[in-house]
């Protein structure tokens, strides 16, 4: 089966000579459709670099990124930009919503940029907002929304249309834990509908929403957890007395 997203021996170096930094070293990562993977590591471990390379925003020094079975390095700049627009969604810590657009306009924007008519794009945007529980807030501007609502708009924008991969960088960073949990529930729900998700974070609570947690240290994958066993394992009866 073709993975939705695959990194094959991806390395990334910045600078050269004595100041050279190896941000990523031969990282292999495979994310299937429907799977949410967390990449966990401290600051400077390379996790944000991993995300920008996975999203084709940056090129690896060596190795390949494969999106939906296509090797990104073999694609033209235009094809790559097109793939990025219609297949990949991004969620950032600071939401990155455009202040001059309403919630639904923000969500519909990537579809319009991708050539969809305004009316159809708005309809898809409205639908995506509905799934995030924000149908009522569609016509509000970002500064009329709470932090939690803004991040849900950002997720709606990341999964709107035919997105196959969602990449999130500390998506609950500025939110309290209950609002952060709501964001992670929505990301998981999006993945269950068939999107492949990658969340990079230093926060274990956030990572624990993933099906699999990959640990990154000094640009290397050092370890990963498997999919969690059923909750039954927490419910083993105590010793009878």
């Amino acid at each position: 089966m073709t993975a939705a997203l695959e990194l094959r021996r991806v390395s990334k170096d910045f600078g050269s000579g004595p100041t050279e930094v190896h941000a990523l070293r031969e990282v292999d990562l495979r994310v299937e459709a429907g799977e949410l993977v967390a990449v966990m590591g401290p600051s400077g471990s390379g996790k944000s670099t991993l995300l920008t390379i996975a999203g084709t925003l940056e090129e690896p020094t060596s190795g390949d990124v494969v999106l939906g079975g296509r090797e990104v390095s073999r694609m033209s700049r235009n094809d790559r930009a097109g793939l990025r627009r219609h297949s990949v969604g991004y969620v950032f810590q600071d939401f990155n919503l455009l202040a001059g657009l309403t919630a639904v306009e923000n969500v519909a924007l990537p579809l319009e940029l991708d050539g969809m008519g305004a009316r159809a794009a708005a309809r898809s945007g409205q639908e995506a907002l509905g799934r995030m529980g924000l149908a009522e807030q569609a016509d509000r501007y970002p500064d009329e929304l709470s932090g939690g609502e803004r991040q849900r708009v950002a997720i709606a924008r990341a999964v709107v249309g035919e997105r196959r991969v969602v990449l999130a960088d500390e998506p609950t960073g500025a939110l309290d834990s209950v609002n952060g949990e709501a964001v992670m529930r929505l990301l998981r729900a999006a993945c269950k509908r068939g999107v492949a998700g990658v969340v990079v974070t230093h926060d274990a609570q956030l990572a624990s929403w993933a099906d699999r947690v990959v640990f990154l240290r000094d640009g290397r994958v050092v370890d990963q957890t498997g999919p969690p066993p059923g909750v039954e394992s927490l419910l083993a009866p105590g010793p009878s007395s």
């Binding site: 401290p42 609570q205 624990s208 929403w209 947690v213 957890t225 909750v231």
Partner: protein, 212 residues
């Protein structure tokens, strides 16, 4: 209740709550809503803790007998013990419950101390890769946290379960954050000689010992 593969991270709940004193107060709380049978008490206790803490029926009856002996509950006037025997809370029981709710939890030695000791010992041992050891523990704790998060995800509407599970998750989170900060500190050590590492290890242990 046990965590078959996670005895190292066994919680204070297991030691203090389920097998210990607080089952008394949980039963008093359930009885404060009205008279109940023993079996019913067990079912309600488990339902409200998200079945995270199964009780056996023997535990329930032993606890009820002690509560009755102490005048905190009364039972029906039957000689028979069994699932059909009903219990009621007394006014002394209500006072005890209210007192308990307002008493701060006992400041027991947290379980992560065992982890702290292990890492301190490892620091002083030649040939131990401490960051690797920290990762072994981080892996287990994150995995455990994933299981609790799944439990919470499945129980969207149940505030009781969410509260119980959150308590576990925050406890695990504290341990993982400690591992992360230990990791950062260890990496910052100058290419440590065994002697350096040993002095790092023995210093805090002496202080810990003196405090107790």
């Amino acid at each position: 209740m046990t965590f078959p593969q996670d005895t190292e991270y066994a919680t204070w709940y297991e030691r203090e709550w389920v097998v210990g004193v607080s089952v008394r107060h949980a039963l008093l709380a359930l009885l404060s809503e009205g008279p109940k049978y023993g079996l019913q008490l067990r079912q309600e206790f488990e339902a409200r803790t998200g079945e995270v803490w199964p009780l056996n029926i023997g535990q329930v009856y032993t606890t009820l007998q002690r509560l009755e002996r102490d005048g905190l509950v009364e039972s029906d006037d039957t000689e028979m013990d069994g699932p059909q025997k009903g219990f009621r809370i007394t006014s002394a029981g209500r006072a005890e419950l209210d007192e308990w709710l307002r008493t701060p939890p006992e400041d027991t030695v947290p379980p992560r101390d065992e982890l702290v000791i292990k890492v301190l010992v490892a620091l002083g041992l030649p040939g131990v890769d401490v960051p690797e050891l920290l990762q072994v523990h981080r892996h287990r704790l994150v995995e455990l946290m994933q299981r609790y998060t799944r439990l919470k995800e499945d129980a969207l509407e149940d505030v009781g379960v969410a509260l119980v599970v959150d308590a576990e998750i925050f406890r695990l989170d504290a341990m993982i954050r400690w591992l992360d900060s230990a990791d950062a500190r260890v990496r910052r050590l100058p290419a440590a000689t065994a002697v350096n590492a040993a002095s790092v290890a023995s210093g805090p242990r002496r202080r810990l010992g003196a405090r107790r």
